[in-house]
Amino acid sequence: MSRISEEQVKHAAHLARLAITENEAQMLTEQLDKIITYAEQLNELNTDNVEPTAHVLEIKNVMREDRAQEGLPREEVLKNAPEHQDGQIKVPGIME
């Protein structure tokens, strides 16, 4: 039985903001199914009383002084923007 359907793949692609093609959807369904099936071997392990590890070092809540700092210069920031106008980054229309 497959673990993942083409519908699920298309939904994940939408969440990931990827305009995948029909071909890719098919291929990814097959490949992700294989990877997920492989990953399910983790279920052999009982982890009921195991804490999850998000980070290996004992570093917590690193704070800095709450003080304003100079940002990056506008001209520099705009240098890599695909499109800009009047000192601002320009994007295609958001609303119809």
Partner: protein, 485 residues
């Protein structure tokens, strides 16, 4: 004979006495690049004009003052996922094809302080996702030992450029083996430091809880020098550790009497090539002769590391790569009429196949209804894997095994099935999950292809890792072998 056959300490001495100039070193780099780069294809961007100007300025400076920094004037290559101000940085992705960084990564700032000379930016698998450089968005890099073979990955360009003598040393990054495996495949020394030892500020993020920058060099001593120069706490990376950075070269005494070595049986089992196994057993004989003892141990959760790694690293990647949306920098699809489609088409057109596959896997593993079953489960298994290492390190000083299960494979050999490519990292991935440091040093040749010995240490105990690696290196001739190009 190349100038790069000298160690850092020797080159430093020559520069100091002014028997050698920085321009000589930079000339050597570009001369060699002219000879072999057409075959090896290690670089994505060369910075010849600036490198020559920098060399000239450093040579003028040395007339006033003797060079203080050990790394003064030495030519370095930098993996292309480490941002360099004003020098194109792509992470080998079309989505960043024309990206011109407006700041330097902390490691690059540190190299500038140490007055190294940047020769160029090195090829890699796109966003560091891969084990062969075949996932580069631009081109393949070829193994200097055999041009039909991959250099390993993802830091393939970093390892190949050092092995080919194009630069003296380089920086790579390692998320699941991306420094050690190419170092092993190319017959050079590659160190993945403890997570948090080196600042990740300016490293284009793949999996933030696993990524770590590290040095690739011709020998262990050089590696120790380079790590010292780039390590240290950085307020720009809140995951960087506030620890003292020792002089690693002080530990290179050759004395490993009484050292306790653990050899995990899982690292010499199924899937590990016979020649690889033999080279490790031979290495253990040498380490024993030097006064160390070894015993077989078990890291019982090793077989779960690969699945754990792919779930966690892909989940983190799916979040990290959300920033590439065509708005502020990088490629933007010209074919979209509204914002949502602009995001989708930019990412579809800009990312390569493997990157999309991992974003998809990560998005799926983090999506509502699957988070606990996949992502959280993997985080819990990560704890078990980390504990395996802690248990062994209660009784042993280092863990030794192979770096990779095979020598370099042929280009195209593993590209059809993602799972066979992933299996390449089975011996390096647990180290990243545990966050401990590990080095790969040359330990033999199999039909003319280099093999690597992996030495793993406790958190922040790079000194012991280097000590063992150096003692082994000095007792063998493997590090003197060079590819013929």
């Amino acid at each position: 004979m190349s100038l790069f056959d000298h160690k850092i300490s020797e080159l430093h001495e020559l520069l100091h006495k002014r028997d050698l100039s920085v321009s000589d070193l930079v000339d050597e780099s570009f001369k060699r690049i002219g000879e072999v780069e057409g075959k090896v294809q290690a670089f994505l961007t060369l910075d010849e004009e600036n490198a020559r100007a920098a060399a000239k300025a450093l040579d003028e400076k040395v007339i006033q003052n003797k060079p203080a920094s050990k790394l003064y004037g030495l030519p370095i290559g930098i993996k292309d996922n480490i941002v360099t101000k004003g020098l194109r940085t792509t992470a080998a992705s079309k989505i960043l094809e024309n990206f011109d960084p407006i700041y330097d990564a902390t490691v690059v700032q540190k190299l500038k302080q140490a007055e190294t000379v940047t020769i160029g930016k090195l090829n890699m698998d796109e966003f560091a996702m891969g084990s062969s450089n075949e996932n580069s968005g631009f081109k393949n890099t070829f193994n200097p030992w055999n041009l039909d073979r991959v250099p390993g990955g993802s830091s393939g360009g970093s390892a190949a450029s050092v092995a080919a003598g194009e630069v003296l040393f380089s920086l790579g990054s390692d998320t699941g083996g991306s420094i050690r495996q190419p170092a092993s495949f190319c017959g050079v020394v590659g160190m993945k430091p403890t997570y948090g030892l080196v600042s990740r500020f300016g490293l284009i993020a793949f999996a933030s809880s696993l990524d770590q920058i590290g040095p690739i060099t011709r020998n262990v001593e050089d590696n120790a020098f380079l790590l010292k120069a780039i390590a240290g706490h950085d307020k720009m990376d809140s995951t960087s550790a506030n620890v003292d950075i020792p002089d690693y070269t002080a530990s290179l005494t050759g004395d490993i009497k009484g050292l306790r070595i653990a050899v995990p049986k899982e690292y010499l089992g199924e899937g590990v090539n016979e020649e690889v196994r033999k080279s490790v057993m031979d290495a253990l004989v040498i380490l024993e002769r030097l006064g160390a003892t070894w015993e077989e141990v078990s890291l019982p959760h090793s077989k779960y590391a690969l699945a754990t790694y792919y779930l966690l690293s892909s989940s983190e990647a799916s979040a990290n790569l959300a920033r590439f949306d065509g708005v502020r920098y990088g490629y933007r699809s010209p074919n979209a009429e509204n914002l949502l489609n602009m995001y989708k088409m930019t990412r579809e057109e800009g990312f390569g196949e493997e990157v999309k596959r991992r974003i998809m896997l990560g998005t799926f593993a983090l999506s509502s209804g699957y988070y606990d079953a996949y992502y959280k489960k993997a985080q819990k298994v990560r704890t078990l894997i980390k504990q395996d290492f802690e248990n062994v390190f209660e009784q042993y000083d280092v863990i030794v095994g192979p770096t990779a299960p095979t020598p370099a494979f042929k280009i195209g050999e593993n590209t059809r099935d993602p799972m066979t490519m992933y299996a390449n990292d089975i011996l390096t991935i647990p180290v990243n999950l545990a966050g401990v440091p590990a080095i790969s040093v040359p330990c033999g040749l199999d039909k003319g292809l280099p093999l690597g010995l992996q030495i793993i240490g406790r958190h922040f105990d790079e000194s012991t890792v280097y000590k063992v690696a150096h003692a082994f290196e000095q007792a063998t001739e493997f590090h003197k072998q060079q590819p013929e190009l």
